[in-house]
Amino acid sequence: MTRYVVQRALQSIPLLLIISFILFNFTNALGDPMAVYAESRNRPSARDREIIMRRLGLDRPILEQYLIWLIGNDWMPPIDVYGDGSRLERGTRRGVLRGDLGISFVTRRPSWTRIEERLPWTLILMVPSYVLTVGLAIAIGIFSAVRQYSFWDNLITSLSFFFYSMPIFFVALLTIYIFAVQFKRWGLEPIKWGGTGDGTLGSLLQHMVLPVFCLVAIQLAGYVRFVRSSMLEVLNQDYIRTARAKGLAESQVVRRHAFKNAALPLVTLIGLDLPFLLAGAVVTERIFAWPGMGRLFIESFERADVPVMMAILMVLSVAVVVFQLLTDIVYTWLDPRIRYS
């Protein structure tokens, strides 16, 4: 087992390098970080813009920029800031391999600092909505499977598809208009939203209501359908009939014999989804002005802030690799038939 884990970890190194190279090319192709100055009122002079480009290394070929991102430029020949050799400056970047994710082009602060500020808020929003989604999905999915084609099953299926087919921005803006704007007009107490509140737990929870509701509403359907079909498949197996024939209570059959087996594919799904909780919810965070990772990514994207985008993408890539490995390990624990060697 240990050998397997070590082997997988070693395999992931070249994988991450390849991913980082591809992502670096993509993020650099997204636009020119200097373009933000185009329509700005206080546009820096052309000479100052050139100096910025040289100092950030934006005038270098993309391969060299990748190399700097990876292993830094503090060992390279100094940067010719003015382009005429009259001012040389030693590079200060240490590169990702030495733990330096780079400086944000926009704020001039370390990319990692920006992630650190946002990650907790994203988790505060994403983890409860994910737990709620999966919990509700299991409950509703089992219920639907056990009562297949009943009135309640049909109702739940229709409702879940209704939300599933709605775009998140629509659900989000609709909830804002109903629970905040219209509630106020109707003389009801509007639900607070926008940001994370005034620092107290009560205010935080209240500000979470609408975004969590939206996230659960649009994600729930997929999981419900998954649990339902997975349960239905298991409920038709011979060993379920055997369990029932033994005279076990239906609740026992469903919970211990059926669900435990039906849960295996669900674990795979959760394992695939968990790393993306770190990514945050781009649209939801933006609409509800939530200071999370999704918004940071979009804001960095809009200003072509390559170091921050790369830092986020690499954190996610590492998380995906790690969670894949964890999923495999959990599998051996859930299903003793599986062995890695």
Partner: protein, 564 residues
Amino acid sequence: MTVKNRVCLALIVALALAMALASFGAPVQARDRDTLVVGFAQEPDNMNGFYSSMAFAQWANDLVQASLYDFSDDLKPVLVLAAEVPTRENGGISEDFKEYTIKLKPGLKWSDGKPLTAEDLVFTYQMIKDPANNMLQGSGIREALEEVELIDETTFRLRFNAPKPFPEEIVGSPGLPTILPAHVFRPIYEKEGTIENAPENQYPTVFSGPYVLREWKRGESMSFEANPNYVFGEPKIKRILIRFFPDTDSQYAALAAGQLDYVPNVSEGDIPRVAASNPDLKIVTVFGGYIESLWLNLRTDEHPRAGHPALKDVRVRRALRLAIDRETITRELLAGATKPTDSIYAGSPFENKELGVTPYDPEAAAKLLDEAGWTLGPDGIRQKDGVKLEFRYSTTTAGWRNNIQAVIQQQLAKVGVSVILEKYPASEFFGAFVNRGINAIGEYDIAQYANNTSLTNPVNATVDEALNCKQIPNESNPGGQNFTGFCSPELDAASLITKTSLDPKERLEAAYKIQEILRDQVPLINLFPRGDNYAYNTKRFAGAIRIGSGVGNQWFDIMNWELR
């Protein structure tokens, strides 16, 4: 308990929990008389004015850092820290415009109680001058400043290597974004040789403006408190909370719901719906110097990509302007918030009022196109020698711009001009030549974006950079800013006069000439001046408020703002 019962129970518990959460903690935001809640669409990137070119950063900065003098909404100078606006008459500026002597008001203080003296100003100009600080702003001062000298506690002197006829670019709020507290920055500068990486740039602690920054919750909000040491005393509004709403729809929803009192960036196309969303909202438009235009690609083949050959004929360019119904665009799409113009100085004191505005006249346009040899083909599109009159019309992905694109496409179709619409993210559209930016390499025939004019002097950045013969970009001049490829030595000569002449009358005449050349040569079709649109909730303010123009400081009159 059966499974069914358990599921029901779980659902009931979840529902009850959601309802409980929704109802408790009612008075969350302080909606009191003392706190003004402002919505910003973007978060400032830096709190040192010298290291940002972002409007929102400048606006947040203007709350906490005072300038020597500001400009009011009608472009009158407003003294803040300076005792007087320097002129030749009062001796503040030497006869040759190379020497400035500035006097501060006596007894000024920083927010921490330390005296704010001419020494802080001397330090600030020294920092601007030192290239090791890598400032984004202040290049106009940096390139010409020879010496800065401390005269006494409230007086300092600047000496330049060339005449500097526009004091606002040197000591006014447009040119000097921030005054640095020497007692904070000097130790950092002496230790590190630069203030570029000072933590104070992100988390400033000492202020000269009406407010002090109390807390910056990253990604969420900034809170400010009144500065009792401000030169005009403590403002009536004790606290300001700036909340960041990256999504405009949710920002407008918060404004409609009364969660925001003041929003400084309503885009033109959104004015009608914002005004309709809440009857208490008032929209104030202050001209900010931007003019939305269609830039025509007149480049020749030696540049990376030439524009459509028809555009080289001035008759075609004039016909395009005649065929676009700008009046309808401003009335229908922009709620009549602005009017069409042919002047690149529109809205500024240097606008030539006799210039006139080309009317919408599709028949005259068709006649001009016929004259130029572009005749209607069987498919309804004009052509000449087998070349179709079909233009690539590109702009950014901003929704209001795309609406204008669609309307212009219809209008041009009426005179037999076909248009292919293209839209790009701003970072691609405005990218540099070396990064193959759409404008820079000329991948367009018509490009829509804003040009911008100074409101306090006749130097027009657009004419000076974006229409100058020397600025046409190509492989040997990749930094060039003239993406149209237009070249008129006459225009360049007039532009030089606006920059260097010491005679205001001569400068004004040159500005008028520039406007005439551009009206007649049409390298760009000016659509309309764009305003800075502010929305505020009248229920929250004790009376109407005055808001400054984009060129000065929108909070210039904040001492008179009062909440109720």
